[in-house]
Amino acid sequence: MPITYTSKEQIEVYRFSIPVTIAAPLLALFLQAFLPLRMSWFSYLNLPLLMVIFFAVARRNPVTGLLTGAAIGLLQDQLTQLPLGLSGIANTLVGYGASSLGVKLDVENAGSRFLVTIFFYALHEVVYFSVARGLVRMNLHWSWPHEIGSAVVNAFVAVLLFQLMDRFKQRT
């Protein structure tokens, strides 16, 4: 496995320009709402979540990570008729977890990105379902094949997307 423990000194922390910080999540949100109209398979993807993971891992700052997650999650909720905070809470935890993991692990290569995305996708779904059932009393349907399939598809797309997003990284 390409995941290796590294010391804090060896880990590089990246930052992003303000236009990229704002435009990339908004574009992801837009594509998530628009593309499933034309390509139904696109509904398996969760692009805003992938953005949360990418920014959190690259910045390696838990506070920034959780704030990014909360902001993107709340934006995602606003396009639905569901109460605000369902995706917000799930993405906050993912942002915090991904940035905390980024401090400890080298998550720059494709293999580790693939596994990290699968893990955080699963975490997101578990938190989302727990909050939706426990707090909002929503009747949700949990399907293992669907969840596993979606996690793998998201992980594949994440590897490609993260490579594209690497171009916007700026060293601190």
């Binding site: 949100l29 606003q78 569901l82 949700l140």
Partner: protein
Amino acid sequence: MENIINRYRNVTILVAILFAQVLGLAIQVKRSNDDESSRLIRIWAIEAVTPLEKAIVWFQSGTSNLWHGYIYLRGVRQENRDLKQQVETLRLEQVRLAEDARQARRLQALLGFKEQYITQTMAAQVIGLSGSAQSRLFFIDKGSNDGIARDMAVISADGVVGKVLHVYGSTAQVLMINDQSSGVGVMTETSRLQGVVRGMPNGTVVLDHIMNDEVVQPGEKVLTQGGDQIFPKGLLVGTISKVEHGRDLFLNIQVKPSADLGKLEEVLVITKQEDREPEAADNSVVRAVDILEKKLPSVPDKPVTSPVGPGAAVSVTTTQKSPQTKTNANVVTPSAAKTGTVKTAPVAKPTAEPETTTAAPAVTNPTLQDQPQ
């Protein structure tokens, strides 16, 4: 103390942010009218995203129209010929149905039924989805500026799609019938059983509240029943695909929506519908007896100069209005259909029609029918 806070700064912020969101969720869940509490924030987000979607859809449909309307015209002539033939067939069918509808309206007028009529619709283009698998709704490119209001019914050429949930300036949110928070009052087409169609978490559609002892067959159509004051009566919702006996009192019935909810591009919003009593075709008061009189053999006039005898009886019988025919029915000949004209001509039609069952029995006295005067 300060040391502890600094040490656990990240966790403290995480807990604070989570707590704020949980609190917000609790407030929204507790308030019944949650759309008002979060409406402003939603408007900002939606107004930020939808213009881009509208622009792309506009560009895409423009390009598509240019290509299919002016450049790629292969097979259009043949298609045009086929469609013309189809129009002729449909015109004939339309005339027959129009006659049936007129009769139905006359009877409804007699009974004082009020019916919902669709008086105005507006075409709208689907520009985006919610982006969440748990929320089955879409956005259209028409909003309050165009006269769209909350709870208006949304349909497609194939059947019922959903209803308008939230309205914004230039866009509106439509909740589809397969969302788990939606519900449509329906009835089955042949057995006339009434129930509620609602969405399930996995996106399927079920028909609820049909008792276990009722007989429902797969393949039966499901129509709106009009009781919810959103959808007019008689719109096609879907077809029953699977029937199973449930554990409780009700059947588990799955419905396949007639509209393809996954591939919607354009929809119709019913912007105006009226409750009104159907009017009889001739705009006069019609009694059951009048309707029956048209259907049943009439008593012939007395011949002026005819001796009473067997020959006279024969002539009377031949001048009677035949019970197997009906006059004043509109018929469109194929040639007339081409020019769009409708001719009036008598056409044979069986007399065994439902409205005759409501007749006064005195008129159907068989002794009057065959008795020469």
